[in-house]
């Protein structure tokens, strides 16, 4: 291992790596690399939509060929490398933003699904090579995930395409996966602890340690940027006694993940995460007896609960110290229960449209709250029910584009959903499928067999897998309430 690699590994072990590669390499590679990704994405769509002879296909293939040749001519080599959520062209990391995230994430997902970690493109690459490669890349396969890259290479070879050389992703061993999970757990528990301390401090009128909160949000942003699955999995933990704190951390995680999906930069995600973590801080000024009341709430008690958005603004004024005032957080706290038509609560008098961060937090908050068991909601809704409600019921007042992006993030069946499979098995959704077209076929951990025997930790399956006839091996029949089957979903993510 090189000194550099060991430094990076060590830095990762300490949970907060410095940014890698951003800014390295010249602007030309970054610009031409982005253009290559756009062209490849355009060609992918053209190949999928039109017959090969179509002029649009030919034009798109010519474009991606020219882009790649141009890069090879200027750089003497062309290698695309996938690392986490990033694409590197040679040694240069391409900048991900709102302009390009759709093409980046589509390509990344396809490469990931085919087991490609790196592809080197030869100088003699031509439109036909690209046609074959892109067609094979998006054709469904029944192969075992581990064999997919080998199969892809075999298909290209049999078609006489030799302009691409592939390598699998850098292996993530079980040890690394465990470390990633440990890091996620550490981030999560520290988040809950810091939020608890924050709320307690505000409740007694003290001055909470904002540095801790910042560190937590930085950890969440880093985690989401490098490997979001573990952290999102932890949002399924439903600690009844700690609801207010876990809920704040969950909303922060969902908001940051959604922000990433929307193409926000690192510091914007940080702003968003800070605002999200503080969104319910007003509850620290609502009597605990009301927050924890298990029976129905009377009008006055509801009024006090509904006061938490504006109480949040007051609470955040209490946080001001020598540092900056959390204005953005105040606005998000105030607006997160408002609807896009400005109804909802609190009532605006001086009208201003809701901010993007408020809308993101509203969706994250609505989802986590509805799927959680808490004092005044003893039977939570299933994640899929909530998702459909947010999508279909416009009276909820959520921004439809944000909801759409949220479903794109979590899949049709969000992480933690208990599903009945057509194999009579029960499964818990573990992660959204990396193949973009497979949002309704997530990665599922099967936790009970066809005879109803519960297993722990269960076995992970990709619902996009098919048998030799091309039929899916497992399909979701319906979603279920885990309590009905005596299953605690969170246990499978800890």
């Amino acid at each position: 291992m090189s000194a550099r690699n060991s430094a990076e590994t060590a830095a990762r072990d300490l949970s907060l790596p410095g940014a890698t590669g951003e800014g390295a390499g010249d602007a030309h590679v970054r610009r031409a690399g982005r253009q290559l990704i756009f062209s490849a994405y355009g060609a992918l769509r053209a190949v999928k939509l039109y017959p090969v002879e179509n002029a649009a296909v030919q034009k798109a293939l010519d474009e991606v060929t020219n882009q790649s040749k141009e890069l090879i001519a200027s750089e003497q080599e062309l290698e695309l490398r996938m690392s986490g959520e990033f694409i590197f062209v040679n040694q240069t990391r391409l900048r991900l933003d709102l302009d390009n995230f759709a093409s980046f994430s589509h390509l990344l997902a396809l490469f990931r699904a085919s087991g490609i970690g790196r592809v080197t493109i030869a100088p003699n690459v031509g439109p036909k090579d690209w046609l074959v490669f892109l067609s094979v890349l998006q054709s469904p396969t029944a192969d075992d995930p581990a064999d997919r890259l080998e199969q892809l290479m075999a298909k290209l070879q049999s078609a006489g395409v030799v302009a691409f050389t592939f390598a699998p992703p850098t292996q993530t061993g079980d040890g690394d996966r465990e470390k990633a999970k440990e890091r996620a757990k550490r981030t999560y528990t520290q988040g809950v602890a810091a939020t608890r301390e924050l709320m307690a401090s505000v409740r007694i009128g003290g001055s909470p340690n904002i540095k801790k909160i910042k560190r937590v949000v930085q950890g969440i942003v880093d985690q989401i940027l490098s490997e979001e699955t573990s952290l999102i999995g932890l949002t399924t933990i439903r600690d009844y006694d700690e609801y207010t704190f876990t809920h704040s951390v969950n909303v922060c995680i969902f908001a940051v993940a959604l922000g990433k999906r929307l193409g926000l930069g690192k510091l914007q995600l940080y702003d968003l995460g800070m605002s999200a973590l503080f969104h319910d801080i007003g509850k620290s000024r609502v009597p605990q007896s009301i927050l924890n009341k298990t029976g129905g709430l009377n009008d006055e008690e509801w009024r006090m609960i509904a006061a938490h958005p504006w109480l949040g603004v007051l609470a955040m004024f209490q946080l001001r110290g020598a540092q900056e005032v959390p204005y953005r957080g105040m606005i998000v706290a105030y607006e997160h229960h408002m609807k896009v038509d400005l109804s909802g609560y609190p009532r605006q008098i001086r009208e201003h449209p809701l901010g993007l961060f408020s809308k993101i937090v509203a969706v994250a908050d609505g989802f986590d709250a509805a799927t959680s068991r808490r004092a005044y909601q003893t039977v939570p809704f299933t994640p899929a029910q909530v998702m459909l409600e947010m999508r279909d019921n416009r009276h909820r007042g959520m921004d439809p584009v944000i909801v759409k992006a949220f479903i794109n993030l979590t899949g049709v069946y969000p992480v933690g959903t208990l599903v009945v499979l057509d194999t009579f098995e029960l499964g818990i959704v573990h992660a959204v499928n990396p193949i973009p077209d497979m949002l309704s076929r997530p990665m599922v951990r099967v936790v009970s067999d066809a005879q109803g025997n519960v297993t722990h930790p269960g076995t992970l399956f990709d619902l996009a897998d098919r048998n030799e006839n091309g039929d899916y091996l497992r399909t979701i029949i319906k979603t279920e309430n885990p309590e009905r089957y005596g299953i605690r979903v969170g246990d499978y993510f800890v």
């Binding site: 709102l98 999560y188 439903r238 690192k266 009532r347 049709v412 009945v420 009905r484």
Partner: protein, 564 residues
């Protein structure tokens, strides 16, 4: 057990030691000098050059941060044992938890200045401010990597468990449940295709554009103004006096922040909307109403406003004029004194018109305050107040201005005379009339010219006594001309004999008046303008004295000819 062998550096430590010395020097220069200072530039250049010998030895420079020493492999390369001051880079990083810093090629060109800025921030920062770990995180360096221990978080990974108590369910029951669900699904044959159509959840270009615009709006919006509007909204909707009291404190705090940040349009917004709140909010206690009123009053109070105007006067870059205009629009009458004080002493040509405009607005709306200030014991204030009264033609100020004409201060009398002339009403003229006899030449001239312009006949007697008296002969030509013009404008035919005598007559031993007096008489006759006066002028048309002849000719051409 033996200690492990110390790690040997791959090359000489001298270049690394020198580099760290250069970092310290550059950090000091960064703190002390502006970027265009030659000392600063040299320090940065030296630091950049200092990396070259290091890169000749290694591809990256990984430094271990100890409590008071920095080590390269196991060799100390910087620091001083026991030195726990911010001057010691080792301690500066160590105290915040940074334990390793790695520099990569490219750092010296791309990020060195930002890195020095970060060191400076860390050195100057108070304990409440961000620590170095947060600063490094936010800086998001591409060529610097770091490791740290988190000093803020206690303990390791806590226990995580799904806390809900859920009674276990037997395998048979699960089997029944899943089988029922599958059978039910198969029997109904119903599948909501929308739930399975993944493409529904991809954002199209229009939606991406929408998000672009939303993100831009999120970062463009004026957070402080939105928070101000939120606080005022809460004030209007929440009737609890305790909450309202807290809100008012926060609004006051916010206003101070806005002022500190020179966000003047924001301050104006708070003041303007605060007034709206007073009118609109229900059940506001007298105390809270008073506090809201005082928001604007406080800014208009002499101390606060003086500070503001002083900072504006001294700032090299004045905030946008429209922002200041918005702010000054919110000042109260009590601000007039301070505004007048600053009108006379501001050095800023951009600030003055804004102050004038604010003073005009305040004075127009508060005449009694303006009149009161004309009598101010502070001459600068009285002068500005009097001038403003003139601009506004404030009739109510005549009495105060008349009193000012009796003041010992010449400047005040001059301004009062000008102002009364500007007001020009009969009352103002009456007050101004006695200024014809003022001890100051400018006051007299101003008064006479006003009488002339307004054709104020009651002043004729005074003018005649001056024109016929000795005093005018000692005056300079301008004053003489003013008096004779005034006399000529008011005297009519009755004055012609006297003027004729001055222009054409001969005195004792055949001596004539001096040229200036004769020329002035000619001008006065031109003003009289009657046939008799013209005849008188014609008699002198062939006068040898060129001064007199010119005056006569101009007078013959008509009123005002002497001015061309």
């Amino acid at each position: 057990m033996k200690d492990p062998e110390p790690l040997e550096p791959p090359g000489s430590t001298a270049p690394v030691e020198e580099l760290l010395r250069l970092i310290s020097k550059a950090a000091r220069a960064h703190q002390l000098y502006l970027p265009n200072n030659p000392i600063y530039r040299r320090a940065i250049d030296n630091l950049r050059a200092g990396f070259a010998p290091v890169w000749a030895e290694v591809d990256e420079l990984m430094l271990t941060i100890g409590e008071s020493e920095i080590r390269w492999f196991d060799a100390p390369v910087a620091g001083e044992r026991g030195n726990k001051s911010a001057d010691n880079l080792a301690w500066l990083f160590y105290k915040d938890g940074v334990r390793e810093l790695t520099f990569n090629k490219g750092f010296e060109e791309n990020e060195v200045v930002r890195f020095l800025g970060l060191i400076q921030r860390a050195r100057k920062g108070s304990p409440d401010e961000d620590d170095l770990v947060t600063m490094l995180w936010e800086a998001d360096f591409a060529f610097v990597h770091y490791r740290y221990v988190d000093l803020l978080q206690e303990g390791g990974v806590g226990e995580l468990a799904d806390g809900g108590e859920i009674p276990p369910v037997g395998a048979g029951e699960i089997e029944r449940g899943t089988h029922d669900a599958v059978q039910e699904s198969r029997a109904s044959g119903f599948i909501n295709m929308a739930d399975f159509d993944s493409t529904l959840y991809f954002l199209d270009e229009r939606e991406i554009e929408y998000l672009h615009a939303e993100l831009k709006r999120e970062y463009d919006k004026d957070l402080r103004v939105v928070v101000a509007s939120v606080l005022l909204d809460i004030f209007e909707t929440q009737l609890d006096p305790e909450i309202r009291g807290e809100l008012l404190e926060n609004i006051h705090t916010l206003m101070v922040y806005l002022l500190t940040a020179e966000h003047f349009s924001g301050v104006a917004y708070v003041l303007r909307e605060g007034q709206m709140t007073i009118q609109r909010a229900e059940g506001v206690t007298d105390q809270h109403r008073q506090q809201l009123v005082e928001l604007a009053e406080r800014l208009s109070a002499p101390d606060a406003l003086s500070q503001l105007l002083q900072s504006l006067d001294e700032t090299p870059t004045l905030p946008p004029q429209e922002d200041l205009a918005e702010l000054f629009d919110q000042l109260r009458p009590s601000a007039l004194t301070t505004v007048f004080q600053w009108l006379s002493k501001t050095q800023s040509d951009r600030l003055r018109p804004l102050l004038q405009s604010a003073a005009g607005r305040l004075a127009a709306a508060n005449t009694s305050e303006l009149v009161r200030l004309i009598a101010s014991s502070e001459p600068d204030v009285a002068v500005e107040a009097a001038r403003m009264a003139g601009q506004l033609k404030t009739q109510a100020a005549v009495t105060a201005l008349g009193k000012l004409l009796a003041d010992a201060n010449v400047t005040l009398r001059q301004v009062a005379a000008h102002t009364l002339a500007e007001i020009g009403s009969p009352g103002a003229m009456q007050a101004l009339e006695r200024a014809i006899d003022d001890a100051d030449r400018d006051v007299r001239v101003t008064a006479v010219r006003a009488m002339t312009t307004r054709a104020y006949r009651p002043a004729l007697a005074r003018l005649e006594s001056v024109v016929k008296g000795k005093r005018v002969r000692e005056a300079d030509l301008t004053e003489k001309m003013a008096f004779f013009e005034g006399y000529g404008s008011l005297c009519g035919e009755g004055g012609v004999p006297h003027l004729d005598a001055m222009l054409n007559g001969k005195g004792f031993l055949g001596r004539r008046e001096d040229s200036e007096m004769r020329a002035c008489a000619a001008i006065a006759l031109g003003r009289v303008g009657t046939p008799k006066a013209i005849d008188t002028l014609r008699k002198a048309a062939t006068e040898k004295d060129i001064v007199v002849r010119n005056a006569v000719n101009r007078a013959l051409r008509g009123p005002g000819a002497h001015e061309t």
